[in-house]
């Protein structure tokens, strides 16, 4: 039997960062609010209430579609997808069926540094459902509570073609898509909180065969890692079925994080018939060419191109460039630092290292960093020029970040500018040798490790402003080991 090959396609749902919900004036931001407080007759699905299309959501969807190279038909419409569930207050979801806002694009992504491309079937717009809170486990709970704060939040669905060929490709595709959405500013990319969700379709077929195998839909993966793990599990499970002579059943399975396995949820026979039909409460959407061109003109630089440009322009490392362009605000911060005169590689190191750690601890986005890019650039310049040591620089950054002060101001106020004046240094070096005669003797007789305490003594005597490199050089010279 020929080796089996996986065929994978992803369906990604992304909540749009609009101010209001998809069809009413309620806030699209719903987390942390008292249950059912962010609602109105329309998103509660009260009898008689009607939807009104959110123009911004349409624009964001078109913009995403354009970034993915999709075609934007002039005519589009909304449809009703009918099914019963307590989190769906109207008994139908307003979605798009046969005339979506966009069709036919592709997404570029990389796997192990190799460029790949995956077809995009369509990008369309729909509304999110509410959330259910079960009193215990779903199947045994005495009751469940419905919260409709999320109901009606704009949801963009990006349907990928089954162009992926291994579980390893899936998270890479999703990362690239997430990055694109972040750069477009249409989604916050938060998979844990569910503002970015991913379902996968996977089938196996003997390598070389054209026809697709039986497709299984896998749901409930809320991280890149669980996406890959779930698909790997499915490859193992389906391979075992096929290799033992059985047939894979078309069904929907859910990924269980606890069991690290997919579990059958619904067979093909139980599959819902959604009875789609055109939403009579909304007129068809006419998308003007002017709007499309205006949105196309406002597209940001594609993330992969931005990464390559910054890498080449500033001689960044591959990974550094990738990290610095993961989110648009990171790239903007970096470019602002470079513009303010910081040497690019050091700028990237400082931003990705100490600054990012501080932001993470403070749960602050880099764009709200109390130390703006220009200030950090000034600090980096001082370190590079040897005016302060790296250690002092990092300590000062921590304080400046906490106090919302300029690091350079703090250095000046505290007189922390490194002393590199040879005469002054000479005095501190002599003092250290007198103070630590044993270390001096050890070093003189070849014990390199004895230099550390001596440099420390110099720094201490100087109140921390002695340039440590200069101190070691002078100590070496004084103890007869210069030039080595």
């Amino acid at each position: 039997m020929a080796e089996l090959q996986a065929v994978i396609g992803l369906e990604v749902h992304a909540q749009l960062l609009t101010r209001s919900k998809m069809f009413c004036g309620c806030r699209a931001e719903y987390l942390g609010l008292p249950p059912n407080s962010n609602t109105c007759p329309t998103c509660l699905g009260l009898p008689g209430a009607l939807p009104v299309i959110n123009r911004r959501a349409v624009e964001m969807t078109i913009q995403t579609a354009l970034a993915l190279g999709c075609r934007i038909p002039e005519f589009s419409k909304f449809d009703r997808k009918n099914y019963f569930y307590p989190d769906l207050p109207k008994g139908y979801q307003i979605s798009q069926y046969d005339l979506p806002l966009s069709l036919g694009g592709h997404l570029e992504f990389e796997v192990d540094g190799e460029r790949r491309s995956c077809g995009i079937t369509r990008v369309h717009l729909e509304e999110d459902a509410g959330t259910l809170h079960h009193a215990g486990e779903i199947h045994t709970a005495k009751f469940s509570l419905v919260d409709l704060n999320r109901a009606g939040v704009p949801l963009m669905e990006i349907v990928g073609e089954p162009d992926l060929r291994s579980p390893r490709e899936a998270p890479q595709y999703l990362r690239a898509l997430r990055q694109l959405l972040l750069h477009l500013g249409v989604n916050d990319g938060n998979m844990e909180q569910g503002s970015l969700r991913c379902d996968a379709n996977i089938s196996l077929r003997p390598r070389g065969q054209r026809e697709l195998g039986v497709k299984v839909e896998v749901k409930n993966m809320n991280s890149f890692r669980s996406l890959e793990a779930a698909l790997e599990f499915e490859v193992r499970r389906q391979s075992a079925v096929i290799e033992s002579g059985g047939t894979v059943h078309q069904e929907t399975r859910g990924w269980s994080e606890v069991e690290q396995a997919t579990v059958s949820q619904r067979s093909k026979e139980e599959a819902q018939d959604y009875r789609y039909f055109p939403e009579p409460d909304l007129p068809p959407l006419q998308v003007s060419r002017d709007l499309v061109e205006r949105l196309r003109g406002a597209l940001p630089e594609p993330p992969l191109r931005l990464r390559d440009r910054l890498r080449d322009q500033h001689q960044l490392g591959e990974e550094q460039a990738a990290l610095i362009t993961e989110r648009p605000q990171d790239a903007a911060y970096f470019e602002a630092m470079v513009a303010a005169g910081a040497p690019p590689r050091s700028a990237a190191n400082w931003q990705l290292g100490p600054l990012q750690a501080l932001c993470k601890d403070a749960k602050l986005d880099i764009e709200h960093s109390p130390v703006p890019a220009v200030e950090l650039a000034a600090l980096v310049r001082m370190v590079e020029a040897g005016e302060v040591s790296g250690t002092t620089g990092r300590e000062v950054l921590v304080e400046a970040f906490a106090m919302g002060r300029s690091p350079v101001d703090l250095i000046r106020e505290r007189g922390l500018i490194q002393v590199s004046d040879a005469a002054q240094m000479q005095a501190w070096v002599d003092g250290a040798i007198l103070q630590l005669p044993k270390a001096a003797a050890d070093f003189r007789s070849g014990n390199d490790r004895a230099l550390g305490p001596l440099v420390g003594a110099v720094r201490k005597a100087s109140g921390g402003v002695a340039n440590p490199d200069l101190a070691s050089r002078l100590l070496r010279e004084r103890l007869g080991r210069g030039g080595g």
Partner: protein, 488 residues
């Protein structure tokens, strides 16, 4: 003689001249409802507190404002499919018992803004599905002209209450004839505006692509005054037309001289009762005498309209009514062993047989494998029906026909034959499929029962309908007749 016998403009003069107050007028309406509606069953509930509050406010406006709106202080009833803030709204269904909407329908708000006084919520067929008012989940309404007969549906409560002078005017909804048919059966005027002329926001949906709110009133002018108040674009309903509302009041005075009126052959050639034919023919003679030219026209797709309607409307019903799942509305079934069974129990108990029939029908025609054969095909027929109308409106200014092939029928006569019941709307529902304007105006009687003439106008041709309707009304001169037992 009751104040409720007067037209809105007559009442307006009396209110402005302080011959009576709005509080007195509302009191008389509510008093009549209290003493007479036991026989009719036209109200699901009266709203005395709201009426008193609104009437007091109206009296202040009548005293303070130089030119208060025409409807200021006028009692009005709302079909129970219209959401009224804080006032129970059931759409005639048990499943919505206890539902107090937290908001007003746009039409309700617009009437309130003009100072109209809400006296109550009018009975109707459950979710407006029916032609006789016998499908109300609470009580049937009877016809004030013959209490053994139906008032027509689904806005039967609205029509009966206006005819019996329990309210001055009322709002109904017309999805396939639900305003025009009861207007014809009860001897009042009923207008079905063009689709999109009146906001549907806050109207509990029957079939969203067909529903329109329209007034029921004693005279064409009364109907026009209410229509002028509620018509026009609404940003909460994306299907409303952005076109401004034309001069509807002016149309009433224009007469029909020089108009060319079409009589659709398919509407008159078969199935009309003799008494209906006789009244319609005299109406035709009056219009000719007034200077209109009458021509026969053809609407060849008419024979398929009923079938298309009974695919499209139930399809939308099956989706629109999905929210009535027993979880958010209705008593609920917390003891049900599973979610599916909870839905089934709640909907079987909460919905009446006609609603269940249409939900089942609609679910079927939308199902995969049947969609193309039924729903898609019905939509094509709908396009043909609309094209028929556009074609004839190139040649004629309006169409006239009887509103229904028969006068009001007996209670129970058609309840066991859904197809016979559906055929009641054969002459009215094509206008809904096409989205055009129409009305029914009383033109006479047969065997003591009122007979209406239907006037159909083009899309947004409400002014033309009112113009022709007013001419029929002048010639017929029947609007001051009050059903026996309700006069005094």
């Amino acid at each position: 003689m009751s104040l409720l016998d007067l037209s809105i403009s007559e009442l307006g003069r009396g209110l402005r001249a302080r011959e009576f107050s709005s509080v007195e007028l509302a009191g008389e309406a509510l008093g009549r409802a209290e003493s007479l509606d036991g026989r009719l069953g036209s109200f699901l509930r009266t709203t005395p507190e709201l009426a008193l509050e609104q009437a007091r406010a109206a009296d202040r406006r009548l005293a303070d404002e130089a030119d208060p709106p025409a409807l200021c202080g006028i009692p009005i009833g709302h079909k129970d499919v219209l959401c009224t803030r804080g006032v129970e709204t059931t759409a005639g269904s048990r499943i919505l018992e206890g539902f107090r909407p937290p908001y007003d329908a746009t039409v309700v708000a617009r009437l309130a803004r003009d100072g109209a006084v809400v006296v109550g919520k009018m009975n109707c067929d459950e979710f407006a599905m029916g032609s006789s008012n016998e499908n109300s989940g609470f009580q049937p309404t009877v016809n004030p002209w013959d209490e053994e007969r139906v008032p027509g549906g689904s806005s039967g409560g609205s029509a009966a209450a206006v005819a019996a002078r329990l309210t001055v005017a009322a709002l109904g909804t017309d999805t396939g004839g639900s305003v025009r048919l009861p207007a014809s059966f009860c001897g009042v005027v009923g207008v079905k505006p063009s689709y999109g002329r009146v906001s549907r926001y806050g109207v509990i949906a029957f079939a969203s692509s067909l529903d329109q709110v329209g007034p029921l009133a004693k005279t064409v002018e009364d109907a026009q005054l209410v229509l002028s108040c509620i018509a026009g674009p609404d940003r909460r309903d994306s299907t409303t037309s952005p076109a401004p509302v034309s001069d509807l009041a002016g149309a009433l005075r224009e007469g029909v001289r020089g108009l060319r009126l079409g009589i659709p052959r398919e509407y008159v050639e078969a199935g009309l009762e003799d008494g209906i034919k006789a009244v319609f023919e005299s109406a035709c003679r009056w219009l000719e005498a007034e200077g209109a030219e009458l021509v026969e026209v053809s609407l060849p797709s008419t024979e398929y309209a009923l079938a298309a309607y009974y695919v499209i409307a139930p399809a939308e019903v099956s989706s629109n009514l999905a929210r009535m799942d027993g979880i958010r509305f209705g008593p609920g079934e917390p003891q049900a062993p599973s979610l599916l069974e909870a839905y089934e129990l709640a909907r079987n108990r909460g919905f009446g047989p006609e609603v269940r029939r249409r939900v089942a029908l609609g679910t079927f025609v939308l199902s995969s494998g049947y969609y193309d054969a039924y729903y898609l095909r019905a939509q094509k027929v709908r396009t043909l029906v609309a094209q028929d109308f556009s074609r004839v409106f190139e040649r004629v200014d309006a169409l006239i026909s009887p509103t229904a092939p028969t006068p009001a029928f007996r209670l129970g006569e058609r309840t066991h034959d859904p197809l016979a019941m559906y055929a009641t709307d054969a002459l009215t529902l094509p206008a809904n499929l096409a989205g055009i304007s129409g009305l029914s105006v009383p033109a006479g009687f047969t065997a003591g029962l009122p007979v209406g003439v239907q006037v159909l106008g083009p899309y947004l041709g409400e002014a033309m309908c009112l113009r022709v309707g007013a001419a029929v009304e002048r010639a017929a001169d029947v609007w001051r007749r009050v059903p026996a037992g309700f006069d005094g």
